[in-house]
Symmetry: C2
DNA sequence: TATTATTATATCGTTCACGATACAATCGCA
DNA sequence: TGCGATTGTATCGTGAACGATATAATAATA
């Protein structure tokens, strides 16, 4: 039985890949109600925390490339969720800030993580295990993102 | 400070999403050498373990929808990595098996997980922590995939 | 000041990922 | 046997995700 490391069962990457997809699928019905996608929800979370941010700063925060974030932001601007504006200080930069509509979504969105954790915590994973999982993932990300 | 659960920092989903992307990025240069993408590598792993499988069985194994897997397999067939053939028993099914070229990639692919674990284990995460991480992810997937 | 390098963003083409939908083959059961 | 329900696969359209590339603004330095 050669190449045990090539079994899905034994890989770390596959469960990461799969759980990421599955959890986004779980978010979908709730995000559909708000008219946004999961990556758009990530952008909103960044902008709920920071009044104004450049395209570059957003893409760094989300660990995505700017050529992914640029069209994402343009779609969100077209939907009226945010405003993109060339910075006056440095005209290479485009600063992004939420519109009223974008800011208004925060309250509704706040319920989503609560709803999703139902049935998961503590039945499947305890609070401690969730913290453990987040910690392990953050250390992994720290290694991968350099 | 309202809505703490909406901070990227506090979410479980975001580190899952991010680590999945980052690890696929790490795979990329190695998979480029083999002329395949990460989802194609997943398909190959399934078929290295199982001589023949239906489209449906592959999509279930990878936790992907068939409308994702069908074009994936067609591209792989066009590249000469595998053969798709209507099942004789049940003509609704399409059985998929590797070509010689597809089987030949296994040996080269076997080195990739080994290379990727360098610098990660045990410096960033111990062997035990990797096992712990896989276990937590599998339990999470078990919950999400139903 | 001129020119080279860097930074920030945008554009293009390919591959995924998935919901909605279509359609043919097979199954279940009266 | 007949026929409605189910199953397996495929097609289409939209939104990512990213490498490669382009372009303009700014910074660095000769």
């Amino acid at each position: 039985m050669p190449y045990d490391q090539l079994k899905l069962e034994n890989q770390l990457c596959f469960p990461l890949y799969a759980s990421s997809h599955l959890i986004v699928r779980r978010y979908k019905p709730y995000l559909d109600e708000l008219g946004i996608t999961y990556p758009q929800y990530l952008v909103l979370m960044v902008l709920w925390e920071h009044v104004s941010m450049s395209v570059n700063a957003i893409s760094k925060k989300l660990l995505l490339n700017t050529n992914t974030v640029t069209p994402l932001l343009k779609r969100m601007e077209a939907q009226g969720l945010l405003i993109r504006e060339r910075s006056k200080n440095d005209e290479r930069r485009v600063d992004v800030r939420l519109s009223k509509a974008g800011r208004a979504l925060e309250k509704k969105a706040a319920e989503i993580p609560v709803k999703l954790s139902k049935g998961l915590i503590p039945d499947v994973l305890s609070v401690e295990e969730i913290e453990q999982l987040k910690d392990l993932l953050k250390r992994l990300i720290g290694h991968l993102d350099k």
